[in-house]
């Protein structure tokens, strides 16, 4: 059973966490010359179990839903703020980001159009060069 399928089994993750810690500690029985080493080993086991627990949570549907909702809210807030600022700037006859965006889009479209035409011209020039080269070669042969 997943540790974080949703609501209603809040005890499960805690149980799983402590059994993970205990399992890590049991796997390598506390040893070392001093209590410091033992504490370090315990700390390590605690972090490992905590890390695993966090990863389970971060993969859970509950977290994904929470992430989606909070991102949605943050983007809505930003959208509304931008709208408000744009309106305020327009009312005061000041250029807003929307205005600069529309100029950017126009420049970019123009740039793409010019590049496209240049590419096309470049291809045609190459073809013409090849034809001229062939014709020059043929006339040299004919002259001989």
């Amino acid at each position: 059973m997943a540790a974080f399928p949703g609501v209603g089994n809040e005890a499960d993750p805690i149980m799983k966490f402590w059994s993970d810690v205990m399992a890590s500690m049991g796997g390598s029985a506390p040893r070392g010359p001093s209590a410091d080493d033992v504490m370090r080993q315990m700390r390590q086991a605690f972090f490992e179990a905590w890390g695993r627990q966090c990863e389970d949570f971060l993969k859970s549907e509950a977290f994904l839903e929470m992430m989606k909702t909070s991102m949605d809210h943050a983007l809505t807030f930003r959208e509304k703020t931008s709208e408000f600022l744009s309106k305020a700037l327009n009312e005061t006859q000041m250029p807003s980001r929307e205005d600069t965006d529309s100029i950017l889009v126009a420049v970019r479209t123009l740039q793409e159009e010019v590049l496209h035409r240049l590419e096309d011209l470049s291809k045609r020039v190459t073809v013409l060069e090849q034809r001229v080269g062939r014709a020059a070669g043929a006339s040299k042969k004919g002259g001989k």
């Binding site: 506390p30 040893r31 070392g32 001093s34 209590a35 410091d36 033992v38 504490m39 370090r40 315990m42 700390r43 972090f47 905590w50 890390g51 966090c54 990863e55 971060l58 993969k59 994904l64 992430m67 989606k68 991102m71 949605d72 983007l75 930003r78 959208e79 931008s82 980001r97 600069t100 950017l104 889009v105 970019r108």
Partner: protein, 362 residues
Amino acid sequence: MTTLPWMFTPADLQRQWDEFSRKLAAMPKAMEAAKNVRVGVTPSETVYRRDTLKLHRYLSDHPKLYDTPLLCVFALVNRPYILDLKPKKSVVAHFNDGGFDTYKIDWGVPSHAQRFLNMKDYIEGYLDDIVDHVRRRTGTDQINVLGYCMGGSMSAIYTALHPDKVKNLILMAAPVDWTSNEHLLARWTQPDVFDVDRLIDVCGNCPAEMLQGSFMLLKPISTMVEKYFTFYDNMENEKFLEDFFAMETWLNDNIPVAGEMFREFVKYCMQQNRLIKGELTVGDRTVDLGEIKCPVLNLTAEHDHLVPCGQSLPLEGVVGSSDYTSISFPAGHIGLAVGSKANRELWPKACEWLAERSDRLS
């Protein structure tokens, strides 16, 4: 009196107190180390600029031995100096000192006006221009390319589109197949969870803070808790402090990604997995990884939490090269570049691999 192993004796408590006092005394040294962080240590010159992009050429006292230059392509999400973080922790230094004329792309920070830059602009525009510039500058028809992370995917795409310009391709933790959605990043970027269109429509570029937050959340305990305990344990060690602050500088130096490029990469590569299926288009060209016919060295990190081996190794099945080598190294995503073991064992091997396949200067 019997004492259990985790019970502190008065002597233990005294030792703890002494240690704490020593750490406190080491604090000014730690602050000094934080202030004097030096990253990107190999001397270099900027040989090409376009918009925010810079191309660096590394200088070396060692003689150049090989005709074919090497171009390092890093991801768009972080600064590229991770490839040259510190002395003895530098991927570029291995190649530079090994006799290769080494170049590295610094994509720079995209401004709000650059959010329309897409995959075509980066790969067929910037990257192709740089490759042509290096070819012209060095008088060679082909160059070697090394791509790291997202830069590796971009390098693979570029090589597939321009196989005639790449002599050898080295990929480091480069994702090409996003079939599996078992790991965290893949779960978070699923289309029903992550609406990349809305993010880019609202924000323009993908914000650096969002990227940094996501990367930290991938390993929350080690990045937000455990790291500081390790710091406390080692704060009297000068070498540790230097490494720690160099890494921290890089980790906190995320940059935004140009909006359209991010949208296309997430949508077409991560969500729809078009690259490995041969369905990805860049401009009006379809990317066929089978067109990669040059020798390929695919380096993966066994403990990579960002790009698991399963995202890189399927390249072998689709690449058209008959000279394909893959090395899975016991390191993490960053450790592959800056780990002591990787710098001791992996990079000399990679350098040798490239040397065997490059033309020596006559």
